[in-house]
């Protein structure tokens, strides 16, 4: 018994220790951002807490515009993903149409060939479509998501066919069956997929870097990369403040809805 308590406490201590190591980069950012610059590498607990770094970061770069751009990109992608993936998933789940199996495999290829890998050719396509440096250009390669189609198809397949038949007897057409039977029953999938998609695109960098080149379209990540580059000469405390500013909505959302976040990632990954 004594032995067990001891093991238990070693476990506790090491798990907490690992946790502290894991969170320390973030803790440090908080320290640097909320204290005057002379304390940024000097951990004096009596250091005064100030907000100057945030104010300065905000004035160094057009963060409000970056926030708006990221918000628009994420919303555009999510809404169009929901529509397109719902329609395709419904077709794959409930319609036996010519070529459906081959088509499904062709779609799954995108799980491997993610848009990031095709930056070169997609850039050319976007310039032909005249969509370089536009919000739509940032989002378009992602809206038909193999992952979303796959996830929703699995969910739709698990809906009992009797429900659909009952709705049909009541005179519902295909589209209203989808909206009244399938979509409401797939709410947890939409939530999980939505959270994963929002966090992915809030954080996405490479493709937005390639396709945007002005303040009007640049998302937070790209703005942050320019702002945080060593050449910019901005000091640490301000970089930390800017970094925290740009991750704060997602971080806050995560802290408030921790369970949903973790469950969504779990659910979306395991399906």
């Amino acid at each position: 018994m004594k032995d067990q308590i001891r093991i238990f406490s070693i476990e506790t201590i090491s798990s907490w220790f690992l946790g502290i190591i894991w969170i320390s980069p973030l803790l440090y950012a908080f320290w640097a951002a909320f204290h005057p610059q002379e304390y940024s590498t000097n951990f004096d607990l009596t250091a005064p807490i100030v907000l100057d770094n945030f104010i300065e970061a905000w004035s160094y770069a057009p963060f409000s515009r970056y926030f708006l751009n990221t918000f628009l990109i994420v919303t555009f992608i999510l809404l169009v993903q929901f529509v397109i993936c719902t329609l395709a998933a419904y077709a794959f789940a409930r319609f036996e149409f010519f070529g459906n199996k081959i088509l499904f495999y062709l779609i799954l290829i995108q799980l491997m060939v993610v848009p990031e890998v095709l930056i070169v050719e997609n850039y050319k396509i976007m310039s032909q479509l005249n969509l370089v440096d536009s919000i739509i250009g940032v989002g378009l390669p992602y809206v038909a998501s193999a992952f979303g189609i796959f996830l929703l198809r699995q969910t739709f397949k698990s809906v009992p066919k009797e429900l659909e038949e009952a709705a049909r007897v009541e005179g519902c057409k295909i589209f209203s069956i989808l909206m009244r039977v399938y979509v409401p029953l797939a709410k947890p999938t939409y939530l999980a997929y939505g959270l994963v998609s929002v966090s992915y695109h809030w954080n996405n960098f490479l493709w937005p870097l390639v396709i945007t080149n002005s303040v009007e379209t640049r998302p937070l990540t790209v703005g942050l990369a320019i702002f945080g580059a060593p050449e910019s000469g901005v000091n640490w405390s301000i970089i930390s403040a800017g970094t925290l500013l740009s991750v704060s909505p997602l971080l806050l959302g995560f802290i408030l809805f921790q369970r949903q976040f973790i469950q969504s990632f779990m659910y979306a990954g395991i399906k």
Partner: protein, 292 residues
């Protein structure tokens, strides 16, 4: 009969938007990448002409490309195994009766939701010479200051550590899900038999975690060819290409050197690697299904 035809029509109408969009931004560019890899780069003076496999010959002789591939192999090896081991440890911790479990789980998982760019800004502080945290800790033990990111010997390790930090918590949740599926009866039975914790892990828990480990292994491998965002902030592939990775090199060739044909050639190389890994997934998972 009538409904059957309508099924075909409705099916195709429903998938049409997805098919058009995905065709335009996944399948079409894959094919055009392959085509442009056989052509010379188009410049203002010279139009693009067919040059056969010349780009490929050049690629395999390009020392920077070879270095990027080798780096990527080390990067994969160095990130995959440690992050999986850490993920298992984290999941075991969080799955046990632990005071402050929610907080600990949150600490492990937080890096997952942070953008790599922001993460790089945070980690820069650890690696900066003299005033960075690593050197400050080193100074306590009398070690000399070291330019971690400026040294060709340490830069790749620094990049690897960040990726492990970023991914371990993400993989943890899959192990957590798997652990929660292990029946408590097994644990009770083991306790009755008086078997040790280590024995229980080795004989019961670990084998039951194997299928999910395979899944994570493949995803981690795929990720190790796709996660390059931190290079943009921390190293730009340097010093002297010591931290250059394949996808970063593609970006450099295309958008710094403007050699789109050569970038396409390297993209094909990357696509072949990704295809092989995905194929392995297919084969393994098929086997797993047969076992059931």
């Amino acid at each position: 009969m009538n409904t059957k035809i309508s099924h075909h029509i409705y099916g195709w109408l429903l998938v049409m938007p997805a098919v058009i969009l995905m065709g335009t931004f996944t399948h079409l560019p894959s094919v055009t990448t392959l085509i442009s890899s056989f052509f010379s780069n188009e410049t203002k003076k010279r139009p693009s002409i067919f040059i056969g496999a010349e780009n490929y010959e050049y690629m395999f002789e390009d020392p920077v490309f070879v270095e990027a591939v080798m780096n990527n192999l080390w990067y994969s090896l160095g990130t995959i195994i440690p992050s999986i081991i850490l993920a298992i440890i984290m999941a075991l911790f969080v799955n046990s009766k632990l005071p402050g479990k929610t907080l600990v789980r949150m600490a492990y998982f937080t890096p997952t939701i942070l953008p790599m760019i922001a993460v790089s800004n945070l980690w820069l502080f650890f690696y900066t010479p003299d005033i960075g945290l690593l050197d400050q800790i080193g100074a306590l033990f009398g070690l000399e200051s070291h330019n971690w990111l400026g040294d060709t010997n340490t830069v790749l390790a620094c990049i690897i550590v960040i990726t492990i930090w970023k991914e371990a918590g993400f993989f943890m949740i899959f192990y957590l899900a798997a652990l929660q599926n292990i029946s408590p009866d097994l644990k009770e039975a083991a306790a009755l038999e008086g078997s040790s914790k280590l024995y229980f892990f080795r004989r019961i828990t670990f084998p039951l975690l194997m299928p999910i480990t395979l899944f994570i292994l493949i995803n981690a491998t795929l990720n190790s060819f796709k996660l390059v965002d931190h290079l943009f902030i921390l190293t730009k592939g340097g010093p002297n290409n010591a931290s250059n990775l394949i996808l970063y090199y593609i970006y450099e060739v295309a958008f710094s050197f403007f050699d789109f044909s050569y970038a396409a050639t390297i993209t094909i190389f990357l696509l072949v690697i990704l295809a092989i890994i995905s194929l392995a997934q297919f084969v393994f998972f098929d086997k797993r299904i047969h076992y059931r």
